[in-house]
């Protein structure tokens, strides 16, 4: 049974290779092939899952060793897999949501002439993401880590003829590379500390290393996580990544890839447990991003960018939970899974709306769509209720647990983190209600598109609505299935460990407080966007609103400091290289051998003469040496 693990990656990888190298012949069946192979991964994952459930908690770690990858004296990197409860959770999420989004894309990308290539990229993504979560060492994880980055690059820039898409793709890759620096350094630190970077060796030995080393490794892993999971200060790429086709935003930039940072931290839990300073840094990043993303989400009129802000914020919750240590690991992952359902569902809903509205993304030009797109409205609505934490739905169970865990951290820290998490819940309720009201309620504010076409909103085809319905089911029930009876906790605890913590407030109080802030958030949003008509042109807004529209000015900072500064630096270096370095080296040579004069003369056409004489000279030397031998 364990030998099936490699097939999880192999199936979609085969799809990617065939679809990308296959040529036009495959245009007619490419999308089907891609979908079938993604589904194959899910089926294999399900088979392994059933097998795993049949075993006791201690025997649930499956391994498969394929071959020795980089064998160099003292350095052992292998291609080997490790499938435990944590990896299994991801495998099912990635292949499950992945398959649904493949199905959705059949309809969504129907009129795109490069649909085959799109499915090739999607398969490449699924393969790389699965590799990331089943690798049994950090270096192989790195391959998956960059593989998803590549797939993300290709898919954000899928419409490459649009300069904005090409720029967004490049930006995503570059920002991620900054994070990758962190992962590289973390692996190098592991190598010098432990002599290896295999999970099976590093993690059990982690407590033997000095706290200083572990803190350094932890901080570098955090840097990596910030890049991939769009956390402050490396969050700036995610909003721009919405240039990609909407199914991509749903799969990669909401449900799976952006959660890889959470996986990395939870997987490396024992390292963080022994490095409290690194843990504090993780919670700070999580808490800051949680608010940052939520504030940005409030100000965006572009439906996808509003959702992207929300993704950032929700991952902030997960990172925060992961930073809490054993109190939070399980809930970080639980929220990750439920978020995978409802956020993917919300994005697919947004895609469905765009599909019916001539690809319009500005919510100020929506309105009243609930009558025209009933299925989209219902599924989006359920996703909305789930994300704001409506009692009984998925988000209620998972987010509530994180807020409780934040308080359970104890001390001033616990109060601050818990308070931030509660505030975040209020803002979430506000901005999601805003999205809901602007899109589906109120008056029609539709406008003709650039070509003068009137929008005719209609329900999307079945290939699109069925995945939305399935995800809506997940949004409604997953939290309950996981939360009731602590099922998810018992499943994951053997891998991540769990501690109850020491909360100054009771769980009931936290839940009650969460309900109160939820009502406040929804209420304010209704007062602003529900009771009054939504202006078709955005009002000027407060200073904060204007800053939030520009992603809290972080992009402007990047532009001025990094882009402009970098341009000046490279331009002056080009000049320096041309005049100074070249000149000094040539000049030194000239003063030594009078070469510069000769150089100038040679440029005037004597080059060939000189070279011929050189050649002649060399020939004479060689002839002479040969002759000497004969003598």
């Amino acid at each position: 049974m364990e030998n099936l693990i490699a097939l999880l990656v192999a199936a979609p990888l085969l799809g990617a290779v065939v679809l990308l190298c296959g040529g036009r012949r495959l245009d007619r069946i490419g999308h089907l092939l891609g979908t079938v192979l993604a589904a194959a991964s899910f089926v294999i994952g399900a088979v392994l899952f059933v097998d795993m459930l049949g075993k006791g908690a201690e025997e649930r770690t499956f391994t498969q060793h394929l071959f020795s990858w980089v064998p160099v004296e003292g350095f052992q990197a292998d291609v080997g897999f490790q499938l435990d409860q944590l990896s299994m959770t991801f495998v099912l999420l990635i292949s499950g949501v992945g398959t649904l989004i493949h199905i959705y894309s059949i309809g969504y990308m129907e009129h795109d002439e490069r649909r085959r290539r799109f499915f090739g990229y999607l398969n490449l993504f699924v393969a790389a993401m699965l590799l990331l979560v089943i690798a049994d060492n950090y270096l192989l994880l790195y391959v998956g880590w960059e593989g998803v980055g590549l797939a993300s690059y290709l898919l954000i820039g899928f419409w490459q003829h649009k300069p904005s898409a090409a720029t967004a793709a490049k930006k995503a890759f570059l920002v991620n590379r900054v994070g990758d620096m962190g992962l590289s350094i973390a692996i190098m630190l592991m190598f010098t500390t432990f002599g290896t970077f295999a999970f099976g060796s590093v993690l059990p030995s982690a407590t033997d290393a000095s706290e200083g080393k572990l803190t350094a490794i932890g901080l570098m892993l955090l840097l990596a996580a910030c890049g991939k999971s769009a956390q402050v200060p490396l969050q700036s790429w995610l909003g721009d990544a919405m240039e990609g086709p909407t199914p991509v935003s749903a799969l990669i930039h909401a449900a799976t890839m952006v959660t890889a940072g959470v996986y990395l931290i939870v997987r490396s839990g024992v390292i963080f447990n022994a490095a409290p300073d690194a843990q504090t840094a993780v919670t700070v990043v999580g808490a800051v991003t949680l608010l940052f993303g939520a504030i940005v989400g409030c100000a965006k009129d572009d439906i996808k960018k509003a959702l992207a802000g929300s993704t950032m914020s929700q991952i902030g919750y997960m990172i925060l939970a992961a930073g809490l240590g054993p109190i939070g690991y399980v809930f970080a992952i639980m929220h990750l899974v439920t978020h995978g359902f409802f956020k993917a569902g919300l994005f697919l809903g947004a895609g469905s709306v765009m599909h019916g509205m001539n690809d319009e993304v500005d919510m100020r030009k929506y309105g009243a769509l609930r009558k025209y797109m009933p299925i989209t409205f219902a599924t989006f609505g359920l996703g909305y209720l789930a994300i704001i934490g409506f009692p009984g739905l998925s988000g209620f169970f998972s987010k509530d647990k994180i807020i409780e865990a934040a308080f359970a951290k104890g001390g001033t820290e616990g109060w601050i983190l818990g308070g931030v998490a509660l505030l975040g819940a209020a803002i979430t309720a506000f901005y999601m209600t805003r999205v809901m009201l602007m899109t589906f309620f109120g008056e029609k504010r539709w406008e003709n598109d650039a070509d003068g076409n009137q929008p005719h909103p209609h329900e999307s085809p079945r290939s699109m609505t069925i995945p939305m319905i399935v995800l809506a089911f997940g949004s409604v029930f997953a939290g309950g299935i996981f939360g009731v009876g602590d099922r998810f906790l018992k499943w994951l605890e053997p891998v991540t460990g769990h501690a109850e913590g020491d909360s100054p407030v009771s769980a009931m109080t936290v839940t009650a407080a969460t309900m109160v802030v939820l009502v406040i958030g929804v209420g304010i949003a209704w007062a602003v966007y529900g009771r009054r008509p939504v202006p078709a042109v955005a009002p000027r807004g407060s200073l904060l609103t204007r800053a939030a529209r520009r992603d809290l000015l972080q992009d402007d900072f990047n532009h001025v400091v990094l882009v402009r500064g970098g341009e000046h630096l490279t331009r002056s270096l080009v000049y320096v290289d041309h005049t100074l370095v070249d000149g000094v080296v040539n000049g030194t040579a000239a003063s030594v051998g009078g070469l510069s004069g000769r150089l100038r003369k040679l440029q005037n056409g004597y080059a060939r003469t000189y070279a011929v004489s050189m050649f002649g000279g060399a020939a004479i030397i060689i002839a002479a040496t040969l002759l000497m031998r004969a003598v």
Partner: protein, 523 residues
């Protein structure tokens, strides 16, 4: 006496060069096919070397030794270790692709008079370079190596100065001037390096009384040859300077962008992927082996220069407006990594550096040759003359991207393995240097993706409209290179197995041991 395989591997292209040059003027195509066949034959011989080489065997294998200039103790001594055999394989492997890619680069123009035979000359010169490079990887006699090291400048000079891109922004006149400037600059830089090396070679003979690498190494190991500290340092510097010019190391690099920019793409590949490797190879073989103490003495300075090369080369690549110059600066950055790995003096660093030489050869060939195909279609090297190519020539754009991704060391492709080994090897000995070098990871992504974005994406430029996609001949060049990049990225074991023992030898030459990890981890 057994079959002299090493001599044969170098002699075949040498004879092929003469034969190609002798093909009558009218039979241009025959000359091309002859050159291609010879290069394929050499590839077969290189492959036989790879198979016959036993990783667990003696340090130098397949050795040949003949008296040559008895008066000076110069012998014709050949032998390969794992590093040499890997680089010979790289050279023999790249050559058919270089020839195939340059198939039409030397076709006569209308204006040329009929007696001028550029085609035959072009391919003969390429084969001559191949012969000398292979022999220099095989030479275990210092004087023999020196002669080859210098002699290969001559055909390279003619290749750079005599054959440029067809269309040039400044017209034929400007093109010729710039070409000859680049060729002369290449020649002078390398000649100066070579002269200094010649002094050191003679100095070594005076001290050691022989040119034989194995004899000197043995005498040094058993203590019968003791060099004064200053003598060793001076000799080391003499050798290292020549290799640093060729490699090239900052600040001796400025000849490379000129040479690679003006030469045709296949010749640029010849320069950076093959000829320059002789420099880094010689650092491992001669500097570390003959002058271990001086090598350690110079390490701090060399590490700093290599770091500067990495960051400086990458930043300049970002600032380039010319596609080929951009790739040249990227190479300077990569050579910084190679030199860093060599002088980190750890097993991972040196294995990584050797692997890096091979992988850089393949990845740069892939990127540069596709760039050449692109340039030949539009007749311009300027990045700003392109835009939206992926729309009209998706296969060209796709292969260009893969070549670029290999250049930025994407995991899964061959260069990642070597770059990471170098980084780990450097980091374990010099953590701060290792961390600074990782900046190269980010900058490489910047120059590659900016290049791709500006040339391939966006709206289709008028000048690019109707550009044909890759032809069969061009695909035959690119596809095998890409396949190799993927294969060596996933399964580098066949190469590392050959390289590892050689690296162990070098490590014991310099009497260095890898730093021990701090924690004894569970296995």
């Amino acid at each position: 006496m057994s079959f002299p395989l090493l001599t044969a591997t170098a002699a075949l292209p040498a004879v092929g060069a003469i034969a190609t040059a002798a093909v009558p003027a009218a039979r241009r195509t025959a000359a091309k096919w002859l050159a291609l066949l010879v290069s394929l034959g050499t590839l077969v011989l290189g492959a036989i070397q790879l198979v016959r080489f036993e990783p667990g065997g003696a340090r130098y294998q397949l050795t040949e030794s003949h008296a040559w200039i008895a008066d000076f103790g110069v012998r014709y001594e050949l032998g390969v270790d794992g590093i040499g055999v890997a680089l010979i394989a790289l050279t023999a492997l790249l050559m058919p692709f270089v020839i195939l890619a340059g198939w039409h680069d030397a076709d006569p123009l209308e204006t040329h008079n009929s007696r001028w035979r550029p085609t035959q000359g072009f391919f003969a010169l390429i084969l001559a370079v191949e012969a000398m490079v292979i022999l220099s990887f095989e030479a275990t006699d210092v004087f023999l190596f020196y002669i080859l090291f210098e002699a290969m400048l001559i055909p390279m000079y003619f290749l750079i100065g005599g054959f440029g891109d067809r269309a040039h922004a400044g017209g034929d006149e400007a093109a010729a001037t710039q070409r000859s400037y680049a060729a002369v600059k290449f020649l002078l830089y390398n000649l100066v390096g070579g002269l200094i090396m010649l002094a050191a070679v003679i100095g070594l003979y005076v001290v050691a009384g022989t040119f034989s690498l194995s004899e000197i190494a043995a005498a040094r190991a058993n203590g019968s040859l003791d060099m004064a500290t200053n003598t060793e340092r001076l000799l080391f510097l003499g050798f290292f300077f020549a290799f640093a010019v060729k490699a090239p190391l900052w600040p001796l690099h400025t000849w490379l962008p000129n040479a690679m920019g003006e030469a045709t793409a296949p010749v640029a590949v010849l320069i950076t992927a093959v000829v320059d490797k002789v420099g880094t190879f010689a650092m491992l073989r001669f500097c570390l082996q003959l002058f271990p103490e001086a090598s350690k003495w110079a390490t701090p300075v060399i590490l700093v220069l290599a770091l500067i090369s990495i960051v400086y080369g990458a930043l300049l690549a970002v600032g380039q407006r010319d596609i080929k110059r951009l790739i040249a600066y990227a190479s300077i950055s990569h050579f910084g990594f190679i030199i860093l790995g060599i002088f980190a003096m750890t097993t991972q660093g040196q294995s990584g550096a050797t692997l890096y030489m091979v992988n850089h050869g393949i990845s740069t060939a892939a990127l540069m040759l596709v760039a050449g195909f692109l340039i030949s279609r539009r007749g311009s090297r300027l990045i700003s003359d392109y835009g939206g190519v992926q729309k009209v020539a998706p296969v060209l754009a796709g292969t260009f991207l893969i070549g670029g991704l290999a250049t930025l060391s994407l995991p899964g492709l061959a260069p990642f393995v070597s770059e990471f080994l170098v980084l780990v090897g450097v980091f374990s000995a010099y953590p701060v240097v290792g961390i600074i070098a990782t900046v190269g990871i980010v900058l490489a992504a910047l120059y590659v993706l900016v290049l791709y974005q500006r040339t391939m994406t966006g709206p289709v430029k008028e000048s690019v409209r109707g550009m044909p996609d890759l032809k069969v001949r061009e695909l035959a060049v690119v596809v095998p290179l890409i396949a190799l990049l993927v294969f060596l990225g996933v399964y580098p074991k066949p190469l590392t197995e050959i390289i590892n023992p050689a690296v162990q030898h070098t490590m014991s030459d310099v009497q260095k041991h890898d730093p021990k990890p701090q924690v004894e981890a569970v296995k």
